[in-house]
């Protein structure tokens, strides 16, 4: 069940709100009800994987309890290794096998397994809590609250990657307390804005760009279409930012304020700034739980600290790439960003400051160009796109690029969605509510086109 499915928007979400309305006056029911709703939400996609989710919660909770009882770090280490092993099995086992087969020129194992939805996210949630427990920063929580932290349905599938300290205290709060109407209004506005980003900005780009990337996967891209392919950066931005905003909005309907995930990243004037505004919750995780430990661990002499610092940066970004998918193109994408971050760091340390406009243009160009590798699926396909850039786009077909121009203008000029929501909900203006209501209907109408019937079989 996705946030832009009728099943979610017209059935699950309204039903959940009604059910929770009955639980709300009873503090002892609140967390349990949301946990059950979250498990139902999760099971909609693939019921057997609910067992994996339940097992994952139980094992990690028991490991945390065992650590608290004995203070043996081995419980924490073991749980983290087990989490990474499960993630590795589901996400990377076949990738490793393919690489071994390539190296040793013989076939290795192949598992016909589906990737459990949200496994990367709930694995990272476990790790954040367990590491902080080991550091003495995180307290002990009840099983119900811990289960909700891992499974809370607005964030379980694709984030935002909330830290335990950001959300644990919010779980189980009364929703229908004085002022709930404003909270709902803000939540509803986030949901509508998020769906607008997804439905009106990202999806039209997908329909425009998918055939170009399909072509690139088996032949060179001609007619200057490669320039259109650069628009994937805008597509992925509005797709994910839209999803995150819907998650934040839904969270607010259950009195949980999730962290923001995007802050106009394509308005950044350097790459470091970009990574502080793009998928912010993942980057905060990688910074605190990968980069800083790697950077601070004592290896070698002090004079090599700078090398270690930059190596940690590079490795963190390569891992960031690998986290996005089991393919060398993702690793390359991450490593390129890592290299660029090193260069930007050195530049800022030793070279004069670039004019803001030049910095912005270089950052946006780098992000859009590297997004091609992220999307293309193979280096051959990416090279087919890059080679096609030698050909300028056909101006007579500029009308095709309207979705890209619209998305680019929004990405470069509009404030962050959270700022837009804040502005729209400063005061209870009835006109805004009416417009948002009609926008919601228009989005539902747009989402009603679940199939592409306009297949044009003209090429035979």
């Amino acid at each position: 069940m996705l946030f832009n499915d009728y099943a979610f928007l017209l059935v699950f979400l309204p039903a959940s709100l009604v059910i929770y309305r009955f639980a709300d006056p009873h503090p002892e029911w609140r967390i349990g009800v949301v946990v059950i709703l979250s498990f139902i939400f999760y099971s909609y996609w693939n019921p057997p994987f609910v067992i994996l989710l339940a097992l994952s919660i139980s094992v990690n909770f028991l490991a945390a309890r065992a650590y608290l009882a004995t203070k043996r770090a081995g419980f924490i280490t073991g749980a983290i290794v087990a989490n990474l092993a499960v993630l590795g099995f589901f996400k990377y086992a076949n990738f490793v096998s393919e690489n071994l087969a390539y190296l040793f020129e013989r076939p290795f194992w192949h598992f016909n397994i589906a990737l459990p939805l949200g496994i990367s996210f709930f694995t990272f949630h476990h790790i954040m809590y367990l590491v902080d427990l080991r550091r003495g920063k995180a307290p002990d929580y009840s099983l119900g609250r811990y289960a909700l932290y891992i499974s809370f349905f607005p964030q379980a599938i694709a984030g935002p990657l909330a830290r335990w300290s950001e959300v644990m205290h919010q779980f189980g709060r009364q929703v229908y307390r004085p002022g709930w109407q404003r909270q709902f209004a803000v939540g509803v506005t986030f949901i509508v804005i998020g769906l607008i980003e997804k439905t009106w900005l990202a999806d039209p780009l997908g329909r425009l760009l998918d055939p170009i990337y399909v072509q690139a996967s088996h032949e060179p891209v001609t007619n200057g279409n490669s320039w259109l392919a650069l628009g994937f950066g805008f597509q992925v931005l509005f797709d994910f930012a839209g999803y995150s905003d819907v998650a934040i909005g839904v969270g607010l309907l259950f009195a949980v304020q999730l962290p923001f995930n995007f802050n106009v990243p394509l308005q950044s004037t350097n790459l470091q700034d970009f990574w502080q505004r793009w998928h912010m919750t993942l980057m905060a995780f990688l910074r605190d739980y990968v980069f800083i430990p790697l950077s601070n661990v004592k290896i070698g002499r002090k004079r090599y600290r700078l090398v270690q610092h930059f190596s940690a940066m590079l490795l963190t970004m390569a891992l960031c790439g690998l986290w996005h998918g089991a393919s060398w193109t993702f690793v390359l994408w991450g490593a390129l960003h890592g290299c660029a971050l090193v260069i930007v760091s050195l530049w800022r340390r030793y070279c004069p400051r670039l004019p803001v406009l030049l910095g912005w243009a270089l950052t946006a160009a780098f992000v859009l160009l590297t997004c091609v590798i992220f999307r293309a699926g193979s280096m051959e396909a990416a090279m087919n796109i890059y080679r096609g850039l030698a050909q300028l786009p056909d101006l007579e077909r500029t009308v095709r690029s309207v979705p890209i121009i619209a998305a680019a203008l929004c990405a470069f000029l509009l404030p962050a969605s959270q700022d837009i929501v804040a502005r729209l909900t400063e005061r209870p203006k009835i006109g805004i509510a009416a417009v948002l209501g009609l926008a919601a209907v228009a989005i539902l109408v747009e989402l009603g086109d679940r199939d592409a019937y306009e297949f044009v079989y003209f090429q035979f």
Binding site: P178, Q181, R182, A185, L252, A433, L436, A440, V441, Y453
Partner: protein, 332 residues
């Protein structure tokens, strides 16, 4: 972002939420009322204001209207390989009233849905011409769909149809139908004919080399799940004459003799012929043959799509078949 409010604000935000819900409900209600009044696809389920005809370039959806049009009593089914058969020519040659219900890029499942739709809306159909190209020879029991097809439009459930009318595509059709009602647009061709030759030339690539010999692969030549489904359909329309047509292709692309492909195609043709063998005024026409006509590249737009002169010949053979049945012609 601060979420705290005063009590008077709470009331105002309550009204804000009420307005949001009311406008959403009102918008959705107006859309539902419009689609029920207009029936965007002219499926005959709703459409209380009585606009006639459709303006729809996609046969996938337009055939819902054509397939129930009472001015037609016979129809041509298939994919693009049946598209050039002209309803007016067939009507003239047979005295029946033909409509084109072929849909490019479809296979057996979609075509059977259309067959059911047509027969369901005609108490007495005069004839069915089914262009059974080799997609009907599949051995995959799942009968995979190559391109999206609106099965909901041809389903028996009005609710399933209603559920799909809340979409921008349906609203686009709705606007066109309203324009049609106001005479601001002209309707699409009621008989569904469209000449793909207007698109220009296709591509003729060299023929592939011969594949495995026939004797190595006899196992998968006995089952044709799509033809089995067609047999069940045909059994339920016992009084309707049916002509099955294996469309021509350029001879250089035919399977090489004594290969697995050739054996399978021959078995498929035999299975199709058996379906209509004992049926009155019914026949199986095999145009997928190697002869001077199919060897001449000028007769084809591309290897699979023949040109108008070939279509005219096929129409004559179809008309003869409807007259004399299985004792009639077998090919060109």
């Amino acid at each position: 972002m601060s979420l705290s409010t005063s009590s008077s604000d709470s009331q105002a935000w309550g009204r804000w939420l009420a307005m949001f819900v009311c406008m959403s409900a009102l918008g959705a209600g107006v859309i539902f009322a419009l689609v029920v009044l207009v029936d965007p696809y002219d499926s005959g389920r709703f459409g209380f204001i009585g606009i006639e005809g459709i303006r729809d370039e996609s046969p996938r959806t337009a055939n819902a209207s054509r397939g129930r049009d009472p001015q037609f009593s016979a129809a041509v089914f298939g994919n693009s390989t049946g598209q050039l058969l002209k309803p007016t020519e067939l009507s003239q040659a047979t005295g029946m009233r033909f409509v084109q219900l072929t849909v490019p890029g479809t296979g057996p499942r979609e075509q059977i849905a259309l067959l059911r739709w047509f027969v369901g809306h005609h108490a007495r159909a005069d004839a069915l011409v089914i262009v059974t190209d080799p997609v009907w020879c599949t051995n995959d029991p799942a009968l995979p769909i190559l391109n999206p097809f609106p099965f909901w439009l041809y389903s028996e459930s009005p609710l399933e149809y209603l559920g799909r009318l809340f979409s921008s595509r349906a609203l686009g059709r709705l606007v066109r139908r309203v324009q049609l009602g106001l005479r601001l647009r002209t309707p699409s061709a009621p008989d569904g004919y469209w000449n793909y030759e207007l698109l220009g030339h296709g591509e003729f690539r060299p023929a592939p080399p011969p594949n495995e010999p026939a004797e190595t692969a006899a196992a998968d030549q006995t089952r044709f799940p799509a033809i089995e489904q067609l047999a069940s359909f045909i059994a339920n329309v016992s009084n309707v004459p049916i002509v099955l047509v294996m469309p021509p292709m350029i001879a250089s692309k035919l399977p090489w003799p004594e290969t697995r492909e050739a054996a399978r195609l021959a078995a498929c043709k035999a299975a199709l012929a058996r379906l209509v063998a004992a049926r009155p005024h019914s026949n199986f026409l095999d145009f997928r043959v190697d002869n001077p006509l199919t060897r001449d590249q000028k007769n084809f737009l591309d290897p699979l799509h023949y040109r108008a002169p070939v279509a005219r010949l096929m129409e004559q053979r179809i008309a003869e078949s409807l007259r004399v049945g299985s004792g009639g012609p077998t090919t060109f």
